[in-house]
């Protein structure tokens, strides 16, 4: 296929993942950006576009100043929460296609364990203001509360069980045990460990919940034409889409139900053509729900699919979260899954799927997703 009009991810970078980085979020972001630029073979001063999660504390202007970028041609951030990674890729890709920028870097640097912890009501609570007046007085203060409410309803509707959710965590841990960068590289997990772990907010148990991590990650995007002259095998963005409606208010289906038709239509392919998937596992049950709501399997079949090993790198029909995901590698709010989606196209994952023709990345259970393919 001709390169014209196509955009690729040409550089990926990350820092170490830890519980206490000992450095600023800005430093983490910059270290990841430098690693990604080095990976791509692009000099910092060639960057003319920057994008970030709106919750990221390092502004584009400050990052540009550190990189020595004197004329930042295009920048932006996307609000909501951690779930905007693929939306940023969609926007950056559109900017490059429109000629607004040539080299765009997307970055995230966060002290999610030693700094602001997203599992804390003190951090995420709205002090009873706005719509929070209708949830916080009754004890719903953090993202996990609303998501647990949806998970409980979905268990009721489809019969999926906590043990089946546990198999998501166990499978991802097995992937992390193959990935030396993963937080839980050297710690195995059994289904019994999961079932015996303490309840956090029912129905979520401890091992249903993502990690809290200090670290940074970055992506470099440019046109496919230019990508062909760079160091790495390009991961071509076949399609990217975002969705901004608060579907969780329905408490029955995830946002993927809305996003999926647009994503598949834009890609000109269907879920059966995907070889490997990274899915935003803030909580293990949502991997099951995403598999169903994106159409990889029928609604209500997700639990059995996971239980029978189909999301495992080791012989599964659709390996999921092959780096260990948010549950066992790091919680970089979708960034680490974007990196892994690229690795699967390059052929460099520690749990590499053979002959990947299409690599799927969801970064928010339907708030954003993309499909990466090799250069034809």
């Amino acid at each position: 296929m001709a390169a014209q009009g196509q955009v690729a991810i040409v550089g990926i970078g990350e820092t170490d993942y830890s519980r206490e980085s000992g450095r600023s979020e800005l430093t983490l972001a910059l270290q990841a950006i430098m690693a990604a630029l080095d990976d791509a073979g692009i000099a910092p001063h060639e960057v003319d576009g920057l994008m970030r999660w709106a919750v990221d504390t390092s502004s584009e202007a400050v990052v540009a100043d550190n990189l020595g970028v004197r004329d930042l041609a295009w920048f932006g951030d996307i609000t909501q929460a951690g779930n905007v990674g693929a939306a940023l890729v969609a926007s950056a890709s559109a900017a490059i296609k429109a000629g607004l920028a040539e080299v765009v870097v997307i970055y995230r640097g966060v002290n999610g364990r030693s700094g602001r912890r997203y599992g804390s009501g003190e951090v995420t609570g709205q002090r009873g203001q706005g719509s929070a007046a209708f949830s916080e007085p009754f004890g719903l203060l953090t993202p996990q509360h609303g998501l647990a409410m949806m998970a409980q309803r979905r268990m009721h509707e489809t019969g999926v069980t906590s043990r089946q959710f546990g198999m998501v965590a166990v499978t991802e841990r097995a992937h992390a045990n193959r990935n030396p960068r993963a937080t839980f590289f050297d710690r195995p997990l059994t289904i019994e460990d999961h079932q015996e772990s303490r309840l956090i907010v029912e129905p979520f148990r401890l091992y249903d919940c993502c990690l809290e991590t200090d670290g940074g990650g970055a992506l470099v995007l440019t046109s496919l034409e230019r990508a062909r002259d760079l160091k790495q095998r390009p991961a071509v963005i076949r399609a990217a889409a975002q969705h901004g409606y608060a579907a969780e208010r329905e408490y029955t289906d995830t946002a993927a139900k809305f996003l999926a038709p647009r994503l598949w239509a834009r890609a000109g392919m269907g879920p059966e053509e995907i070889d490997v998937a990274q899915i935003y596992d803030h909580f293990a049950p949502f991997v099951v729900f995403a598999l169903e709501d994106y159409g990889f399997i029928e609604r209500g079949e997700g639990g059995r699919f996971v239980e029978s090993g189909e999301i495992s790198w080791d012989g599964g029909a659709l390996p999921v979260n092959t780096s260990g995901g948010h549950l066992s590698e790091a919680y970089m709010q979708g960034m680490n899954q974007l990196l892994e989606g690229v690795r699967q196209v390059r052929g460099t994952s520690t749990s590499q799927v053979e002959n990947v023709g299409a690599s799927f990345v969801d970064t928010g259970i339907g708030t954003g997703a993309l499909i990466l393919v090799p250069d034809a």
Partner: protein, 148 residues
């Protein structure tokens, strides 16, 4: 009826006192009605659509005009969660407790707590009815009890 605070294990009476709502112009009448022991939900006068939480515009017909429709106060548990970890320092003495999502017979869903049901007794579909729980002079919370 106004519900007196009682100390039932697993029942989160008092969470609302620790984390009170802050009424704002777009939802003040919801809270005002509760002071008179009435559960009223915003209803579009143009198309009749009920909406909650309150907001200025009807998402169905985009009308701004609305009234505050008196609800029967009856409904059922649509979903629930049980907080075992105190995610807020003020809740350390209160966990575990349940939060329910009640679907009113009229359709809208409200986040609330049950006043007479332990967190391990809750079932989806359980019939419930509103009780009015006074926090202070300015705030009454709509909580629910088992019905039928």
């Amino acid at each position: 009826m106004t519900h007196e605070v009682t100390n039932i294990p697993g029942v989160p009476l008092g969470v609302g006192e620790l984390l009170p709502p802050v009424p704002e112009p777009d939802n003040q009448k919801f809270w005002d009605a509760l002071l008179s022991d009435e559960l009223r939900i915003q209803r579009c006068t143009a198309c009749g659509e009920l909406r909650h939480p309150p907001q200025p515009m009807c998402p169905r017909c985009n009308g701004f005009d609305h009234e505050w429709a008196l609800m029967s106060g009856r409904g059922s548990v649509f979903s629930y969660v049980v907080s075992h970890q105190a995610v807020h320092s003020s809740l350390r003495e209160r966990t575990p407790f349940a939060t329910v999502l009640v679907e009113l017979d009229e359709g809208p869903r409200l986040v609330s707590n049950l006043v007479d049901v332990g967190h391990d007794e809750i079932e989806i579909g359980m019939a419930v009815a509103v009780v009015f729980h006074r926090v202070d002079e300015a705030i009454v919370l709509p909580l629910f009890r088992r019905a039928g």
